[in-house]
Amino acid sequence: MQTRQYWRRNLWLTGFLLLIWFVVTFVASYYARELDQFMVFGFPLGFYMGAQGALIIYALIIAFYAWYMNRLDRQFSTSEGGD
C-alpha cells in the first residue's frame, strides 16, 4: 500500500512539473509573436522567455522536484521505521 502511495505522489508531481515545463517551453514559444507586445526589463517578453525566463523556471522546477522528493523519501522511510 505504502509503495503505491509513494509512486502515485511521485507521478502527480512529475506530471504537474512537466506541464509547467511544456507551457513555458512550447506554448510560450508558439505565442512568441503575441508576447512580444509586452516588455520586461527592457526585453520584449517573447524574446525574454526564450533567453532567460524559461531557463530560470527550469531551474526552479528541478529544485522543487529534488526538495519534494527528498522530503518524501525521508517521510516514508521514517514511517516505515515507526511501524
Binding site: 509513494y6 517551453t25 512550447f26 512568441a32 527592457g42 533567453a51 531551474a59 528541478i62 523519501d73 516505515e80
Partner: protein, 679 residues
C-alpha cells in the same frame, strides 16, 4: 564525507586563486612587452599540464573507480563536472555566434540545451542512480533482459558519441591553430594528448576531477570578456541584465541599416548574383563550357592589355577551380547561389520571432523552432555521456540535487550567451558598419587569414555595408576581446576556456564509447569471466584506439561536422529516450517492444536526415535520393519523427507480445522505490 567535501572545496578554491594569479601575472607581463604568441603558449601548455597533473593524480585500477568514480562525487562537484561535460566547443564558441547571426531563432539552442535537464531530473537521473550500474546500455540490458537491447544501445551510444567527439577534437585544432599558430593537424594531436592524459589512467575518476577544473576555467573565460564589454557600454558589468537596453539600441541601429540606400543597393547586387548563378545552373551542361570560354577570353584580353599580373593569376585560378563535371558544377554553383541569396536577403531583426516573407513561411519557421527545441531537449536527456554522470553520486538524493547544481552551472553560460551576441552585435553595428574598408580594425585581417571573416566590397564604394561582411559563427566569441579592444591576455583566456570546453566534453565522450565497448560488449556479452584487471586493460586500449581514430577523422576537416553534431541529438533521442522512459514508467514494456522501437526510431531518423539533407552521396554512388521535408521540418529536427515512432512502436509491439516476466517486473519496482520498501 563532509570532511573530504570541505577538503575538496579548499583544493578548488586554491586552484581558482592560483589560476587568477596566473592570469594577472600574464597581464602584467603583456604590459611589459611579452609577445602575444607567448601568451598563447603559456595558456595552452600551462592549462594542459594542470589537467594532466590532476589526471595522473587521480589514476586508478579499481573498476568502480574507473567507470563511475567510486560513486563518491558530491552533488555540487558532480554538477560542475556535468556542466563541463555538457558544454562543448559548440556551446562555447558556436552558440553566441548563432544567436548573433539568427537572433531569436538561435534561442532554440538556449532553451533546448537547458530544458532537457528538466527531463533528466524528472524522468531519468534518480532512477538510473537507484539502478546503480555502470553504463546506459547496462540499464537497457537489465530492464529488458537479454543482449539485444544492450547491443542496440551500444550501437546508438557509439554512433551519437563518435561524431560528437570528432567535433570536439576539430574544435581543439581550430583553437590551437589560431592562438599559438600550430598547424591544424598538429593542433589536433596536441588536443588528443590533452584528452588522453586526463582519461587514460584514471577513467571516470580522473575525468570528473579534471572536468571540475575545466569548468572553472571555461566559465571565467566565457563571462569575463562580455562583463568587461558590458561595463564599457552600459557602466554596469552584469551583461545578463544589461543587454535589454542594448537590444533596444540594436533595434534603432537595425532601422537605420535597413533603410540605408547603400545597404539596399548591396543586397540587390547580391540577389542579382544569386540569379546569375541560378541561370547558370539551369543552363547546365552547356553553361559550364560557356563559363570556361568566357574566362579564357578575358584572360587573353588582360594579358594583351596593361594590367597587373595579380589580377590575371586570380582569373586563372578561378578558371582552374571551375568544377570538372556538370554534377560537380551544380553542387558548386548551388552553394554559391545560396550564399549570395542569403547575403542579399532582408536584414534579420534580432528579437523578431519566426521571420518570414509571408504568414506561411513564418509558420514553418515557428514549427521548425519548436521541433528543434524538442529534439535538443530529448537528445539532452538521452546522451549517454551526460546520463552516466548521475551514476557517480553517492546516493539517489545526491543525484537529484546534482541535477539542480548541473542546471545552475550550465545556466551561468546559457544566460550569458544571448548577452554575448547582443553586445557583439552592438559593437559591430555601431562601430564597424559604415566605416571605410581601407581602415578596418586589425582583427578582421587576422581572422580573415583563418577564413572565419570575409569582406567583399561588392558595390565598390569603399565603405563597409553590413551585407558585405560575412562572419563564421565561431568568431563572435573568439574575437570579442579584440573587437572590444581588450588586451591580448583576455583573448588567451578565451582560448583556454574554449580548449577546456572541448577537452572536457571529449573526455566524457571517449570514456563513454570505451565503456560501451569494454563493459557492455566485451565483459557482459563475450567474457563474463574476465578478471577486473583484464577488463581495465581492454578498456584503456579501446580508449586509445577510439581517440586516435577520432583524431584522424578530425584532421580530415570534415565539412559537415556542425550538422553532424545537431544530428547526434536526434539520433540519441530517438534511440534512447522512449526505451528509457517507458522502461521506468511502464512495467508492461518488454524486450521485443524496446528493441523494435529503438531500431525503428533510429532508422526513421537516419532515413529522414539523409534524404532531406543529401541528394547525392558520391562515395556510395547514390544519386537523386533527395526528398521534400515532411511539413517543412529540417533535417536537424528529424528526431521528432524518430521519437514519436519509437514510443508508438514500443507500446504496440509490447502489447502484442507477452508481458515481461516476474523478475523484470521486480526490477522495475526496485528502480522506482527507495530501499525501505524492499522486503
Amino acid at each position: 564525507m563532509n570532511d573530504s567535501s570541505a577538503q575538496l572545496r579548499r583544493y578548488y578554491t586554491l586552484y581558482s586563486a592560483s589560476f587568477f594569479v596566473f592570469v594577472v601575472a600574464l597581464a602584467i607581463l603583456e604590459h611589459y612587452g611579452m609577445p602575444p604568441r607567448w601568451i598563447g603558449y603559456a595558456f595552452l601548455f600551462l592549462t594542459l599540464i594542470l589537467y594532466a597533473t590532476i589526471g595522473v593524480m587521480a589514476r586508478t585500477s579499481n573498476v568502480a573507480e574507473y567507470y563511475v568514480a567510486g560513486r563518491k562525487i558530491p552533488a555540487v562537484f558532480n554538477g560542475m563536472a556535468t556542466g563541463a561535460d555538457w558544454m562543448s566547443a559548440a556551446s562555447f564558441m558556436g552558440l553566441a555566434g548563432t544567436l548573433y547571426l539568427s537572433g531569436y531563432q538561435g534561442l532554440a539552442y538556449v532553451m533546448g540545451w537547458t530544458g532537457g535537464y528538466v527531463l533528466v531530473a524528472l524522468l531519468l537521473a534518480p532512477y538510473l542512480r537507484r539502478f546503480g550500474q555502470y553504463t546506459i546500455p547496462d540499464f537497457l540490458g537489465a530492464r529488458y533482459g537479454g543482449n539485444a537491447a544492450r547491443l542496440v544501445g551500444v550501437f546508438a551510444t557509439v554512433l551519437a558519441s563518435f561524431v560528437y567527439v570528432v567535433a570536439q577534437i576539430y574544435g581543439v585544432g581550430v583553437i590551437t591553430s589560431r592562438f599559438v599558430g600550430l598547424q591544424f593537424e598538429i593542433g589536433v594531436f596536441v588536443g588528443l594528448a590533452g584528452i588522453l592524459v586526463c582519461s587514460f589512467l584514471g577513467g571516470m575518476r580522473a575525468v570528473t576531477w579534471t572536468q571540475v577544473a575545466q569548468y572553472l576555467v571555461l566559465i571565467v573565460a566565457y563571462v569575463a570578456p562580455v562583463a568587461i564589454l558590458s561595463y564599457k557600454v552600459t557602466g554596469i558589468p552584469v551583461p545578463q541584465i544589461m543587454y535589454g537596453q542594448v537590444l533596444q539600441k540594436i533595434n534603432v541601429l537595425e532601422d537605420r541599416i535597413a533603410s540605408d540606400p547603400a545597404e539596399l543597393d548591396v543586397r540587390r547586387l547580391y540577389l542579382a548574383r544569386a540569379d546569375s548563378f541560378s541561370a547558370r545552373i539551369n543552363g547546365l551542361p552547356e553553361s559550364l563550357a560557356v563559363e570556361r570560354r568566357a574566362l579564357s577570353a578575358e584572360i587573353e584580353k588582360m594579358k594583351g592589355g596593361n594590367v597587373q599580373m595579380r589580377d590575371v593569376f586570380a582569373l586563372e585560378r578561378q578558371r582552374r577551380e571551375l568544377p570538372k563535371s556538370p554534377e560537380a558544377a551544380r553542387d558548386y554553383w548551388e552553394s554559391l547561389q545560396q550564399q549570395a541569396a542569403q547575403r542579399g536577403s532582408e536584414l534579420i531583426r534580432h528579437t523578431e520571432p519566426f521571420p518570414g516573407k509571408d504568414e506561411a513561411a513564418s509558420d514553418t519557421a515557428r514549427l521548425n523552432f519548436i521541433t528543434l527545441v524538442f529534439c535538443l531537449m530529448v537528445g539532452t536527456a538521452a546522451l549517454p555521456h551526460v546520463l552516466a554522470r548521475y551514476y557517480t553520486t553517492p546516493s539517489v538524493r545526491e543525484a537529484r540535487n546534482s541535477v539542480f547544481w548541473s542546471m545552475l552551472f550550465i545556466l551561468a553560460l546559457y544566460l550569458t550567451a544571448p548577452a554575448y551576441a547582443a553586445f557583439a552585435k552592438y559593437e559591430i553595428y555601431s562601430n564597424l558598419v559604415g566605416s571605410a574598408i581601407a581602415h578596418l580594425p586589425s582583427w578582421i585581417g587576422a581572422w580573415g587569414k583563418v577564413g572565419l571573416v570575409s569582406i567583399e566590397d561588392i558595390n565598390h564604394d569603399g565603405i563597409l555595408q553590413l551585407a558585405e561582411l560575412s562572419l563564421n559563427p565561431d568568431v563572435i566569441v573568439l574575437a570579442t576581446p579584440e573587437i572590444a579592444g581588450l588586451p591580448y591576455v583576455i583573448s588567451g583566456l578565451v582560448a583556454a576556456g574554449a580548449l577546456a570546453a572541448a577537452l572536457s566534453t571529449a573526455d566524457g565522450l571517449l570514456l563513454t564509447i570505451a565503456s560501451a565497448f569494454s563493459h557492455d560488449v566485451y565483459y557482459k556479452v563475450f567474457r563474463p569471466n574476465a578478471t577486473t584487471q583484464w577488463r581495465l586493460v581492454v578498456s584503456k586500449t579501446l580508449l586509445l584506439v577510439v581517440a586516435v581514430l577520432a583524431a584522424l577523422v578530425a584532421s580530415q576537416k570534415p565539412a559537415t561536422i556542425l550538422y553532424m553534431v545537431a544530428w547526434a541529438f536526434s539520433l540519441a533521442g530517438a534511440a534512447f529516450f522512449p526505451a528509457l522512459v517507458l522502461g521506468i514508467f511502464w512495467k508492461r514494456a518488454n524486450q521485443a517492444g524496446a528493441v523494435s522501437g529503438m531500431v525503428l526510431g533510429l532508422l526513421v531518423t537516419m532515413y529522414y536526415m539523409v534524404r532531406v539533407q543529401f541528394d547525392t552521396i558520391p562515395w556510395l554512388g547514390i544519386h537523386g535520393i533527395g526528398m521534400d521535408p515532411w511539413l517543412g521540418i529540417q533535417s536537424t529536427s528529424s528526431g521528432v519523427w524518430g521519437v514519436a515512432i519509437g514510443f508508438v512502436t514500443i507500446v504496440v509491439v509490447s502489447l502484442l507480445s507477452d508481458p515481461p516476466n516476474r523478475e523484470i517486473q521486480n526490477f522495475v519496482e526496485r528502480v522506482r522505490y527507495p530501499d525501505v520498501f524492499r522486503r
